[in-house]
């Protein structure tokens, strides 16, 4: 991305702190629409004997269920299923959407088409949302007393570390995703840039480009999976009694 900028609208509706990155808005919307249609078309022709997309989606449901089951029992975990499948699909599509191409406007050099998850604002938003949800469900399912006591377990002097852990969790959760996706975007942009400068460069950059795109698909999938897994691990940490 380097010298590329972002299409930012400053002080939206005249509110002094409300700045908006139009690229993120657009890409999030497109990702959400794609995810919705994947789900919608999977569930369009439902049958007792599953066919086509229904099979894929049922496999996905079992996959998410498996992850939730591996961290907590299904009785408590059932309520997080919607959260899990939405997080996984949304982040997966948001990661993948930046791979095929990149749209940069001229002459401002503003990047319009990229992975929204290559922006720390978005990844941190999801990370903090997840961490806040774990606290919310911790309070709701275990009660304030048990929730509070958890900060002093197994020994009270670990309390400061426990507090730091919460912030560290949120930060690492968001930054891991951002770092991976940002690196992917930068390398793709560099290779694309190199390929664009001349025929010789295009030949030289072609093979690494294909390799990096293939790796990007793997990376996008694995990061979505890790985000989902960690979400459920943090959630289980807060809501289950045994640890």
């Amino acid at each position: 991305m380097g010298d590329h900028g972002d299409p930012i609208v400053y002080e939206l509706f005249g509110i002094s702190w409300l700045h908006v990155n139009l690229s993120n808005i657009m890409m999030l919307t497109i990702s959400a629409i794609i995810v919705f249609f994947i789900g919608f078309f999977s569930a369009r022709k439902l049958g007792m004997k599953p066919t086509g997309m229904q099979n894929v989606f049922e496999w996905l449901i079992d996959f998410i269920k498996g992850i939730i089951n591996s961290t907590m029992d299904w009785k408590t975990g059932e309520r997080f299923f919607g959260l899990g499948i939405t997080i996984f699909l949304f982040i997966l599509i948001a990661n993948l959407i930046g791979i095929p191409f990149m749209i940069v406007s001229e002459p401002e050099h503003n990047v319009w088409w990229k992975s929204p998850t290559a922006d720390p604002i978005i990844t941190m938003t999801f990370a903090i949302m997840v961490i806040l949800l774990t606290h919310y469900y911790g309070l709701k399912l275990k009660g304030p007393k048990e929730y509070g006591k958890d900060y002093f377990r197994p020994v009270p002097f670990l309390f400061p570390l426990k507090v730091i852990e919460e912030f560290a969790n949120a930060l690492t959760l968001g930054m891991r995703l951002f770092g991976n996706l940002y690196a992917k975007e930068i390398l793709l942009a560099l290779l694309a840039g190199a390929g664009g400068t001349g025929l010789l460069y295009a030949f030289a950059a072609g093979a690494p480009m294909v390799a990096w795109q293939a790796f990007s698909i793997f990376l996008a999938t694995i990061q979505a999976f890790i985000f989902l897994m960690l979400t459920m691990v943090y959630m289980a940490h807060k809501v289950s009694d045994d640890h």
Partner: protein, 163 residues
Amino acid sequence: MPEVITWGDTIFAIVTFIILLMLLRKFAWGPIMNMMKEREEHIAQEIETAEKNRKEAENYLEEQRQEVQNARDEARNIVDNAKKTGEKQREEIMTQARDEAERLKESARVEIAREKEQAVAEVRDQVASLSVLIASKVIDKELDEKEQEQMIEDYLKEVGEEL
């Protein structure tokens, strides 16, 4: 990288996420999960039905086997009865035949005795009449002792031939 924190993105991301979550629940995994649950129930029900059918079939088979056994027993009984009845009947017929024979023999014997008696009586009658005849002939003829004797002998022979 932007030099400001774009809070608008944050708000938009969360709102999009929540809307997407609700839409997916309504249109995607909600109905699909319902279908999966339905299928699970359906399969469980099918298994139950199959189990029930199997048990029923087993019961039926057992019943049939019992029935066959009963039929076989009954057949044996019938044959036994028939044999017994036949034996009894044979015995009866034999007894009857023997009685009949005895009776016939007895009546034949009685008949013979009666006939004999009758014959003797007849002979006796004839002897009497012959005696009278002989006596008259003797009286009629003058005979010597030798002739008389001859004559008696002749008559007696005559009587003996007639008997």
